[in-house]
């Protein structure tokens, strides 16, 4: 019986910690993604001098490939915007 109790306690604690970690990880990722979005504001047509200065920070960020793709290319607005500028790529 004691053993089961121990096990149950361990199990519950583990489960709780897992969800805690998960939500922390999620929030951490979101914070990071907010930063990244900010960096690319310029390209969404918003004049933002800070994006320009923050470019310098770009090499030091952890970038998630999927997020980047989603942000830059999934919504077709950005490429359309770009096509208005000659020789952008």
């Amino acid at each position: 019986m004691e053993k089961i109790k121990e096990w149950l306690k361990g199990f519950l604690k583990g489960a709780f910690e897992d969800t805690l970690f998960e939500s922390l990880e999620k929030e951490a990722t979101e914070t990071q993604e907010m930063l990244l979005t900010l960096l690319f504001l310029n390209f969404a047509g918003l004049e933002n001098p800070f994006s320009f200065y923050l470019f310098e920070l770009l090499p030091y960020m952890e970038i998630n490939e999927h997020f980047l793709r989603r942000m830059l290319f999934k919504e077709e607005r950005l490429p359309v915007l770009f096509s208005r500028f000659e020789g952008w790529a």
Partner: protein, 281 residues
């Protein structure tokens, strides 16, 4: 470093005033005369043929006419290189076009110039810096950017600290934190730039015409509270001048309209220098 920003409408005599002011200051210390106008004309003022961006005119006077397009390309080029080194080829390929676009966007010229200006302030190699500026909008940018950037840095630092804390709690296995130290260093630098620019003297050059007065009034209203106007230079004064003049100016000097161009070393320069001495304390 003491900074003088010289501004005014096109053709009023900004370069001429900035030039003579620099010559005057070079008797008191080491001077850098920086042009933030895309169409540089400092070399014409000094009648120099020599090529180069940074030229020593005399023992304590340097002129600096940065190649802005190239400076922008280099700035983005450095970032491009680091991105390529730090990320996977797929991520790099995604980001590349954005960087390329940015490296050619004229909207970034003033931002690059502000970077150049900031770097000179941080390096502090000269006792004085005189800036021959292009337009009012540019000065407004230079005057307001430090505060606005600092606010962004603070926000980013807050977010990043939160992120780092959460990352630790979540026991995410990541390497050493590089981002935060860079942000903090940037903030520290910008604080110095802000402090120095807040103490800069702003000199507004105008011609004695009613229209120019209206223009000046508007410009000074926009700059009010952001930059310290220390002198108005009424240039090219000839015969009659408009009577209405009620700017709250700490000092106003008048310079006559000469028959020939007042270039460095010309006899007209003596008169201009004598007037400019009045605004130097």
């Amino acid at each position: 470093m003491k900074i003088y920003l010289v501004g005014g409408k096109g053709g009023v005599g900004k370069t001429t005033i900035a030039g003579f002011l620099s010559i005057l200051l070079s008797e008191r210390g080491d001077v850098l005369l920086l042009s933030t106008d895309l169409a540089h004309s400092l070399k014409d003022f000094f009648s120099i043929k020599k090529k180069g961006k940074r030229i020593k005119i005399r023992p304590s006077l340097w002129i600096f006419e940065p190649d802005i397009e190239k400076a922008l390309k280099n700035y983005i080029g450095d970032i491009d290189k680091k991105v390529r080194e730090n990320f996977s080829p797929t991520i790099y390929e995604d980001i590349k076009p954005f960087l390329k676009f940015s490296s050619q966007d004229p909207a970034n010229y003033d931002l690059v110039l502000f970077n150049i200006l900031s770097n000179e302030i941080i390096r502090e190699e000269h006792d004085f810096m005189v800036v021959d500026t292009a337009a009012t909008a540019q000065i407004l940018k230079f005057a307001t950017l430090p505060d606005r950037l600092l606010r962004w840095y603070d926000l980013l630092i807050k977010w990043r600290k939160k992120y780092v804390a959460m990352r630790e709690m979540a026991k995410l296995n990541v390497g050493e934190e590089k981002f935060l130290p860079i942000l903090l260093r940037k903030k520290e630098k910008m604080e110095k730039v802000k402090k120095e620019l807040a103490q800069a003297d702003f000199i507004w050059v105008l011609e004695p015409a009613r229209l120019a007065f209206d223009e000046t009034e508007k410009a000074l209203k926009n700059l009010k509270g952001k930059i310290k106007l220390s002198a108005l230079v009424m240039n090219k004064v000839s015969g009659k001048k408009p009577s209405v003049f009620d700017f709250p100016s700490p000092s106003l000097i008048e310079i006559p309209l000469f028959e020939s161009e007042p270039l460095a070393g010309s006899p007209e320069g003596e008169k201009i220098s004598a007037e400019l001495k009045k605004i130097l304390t």
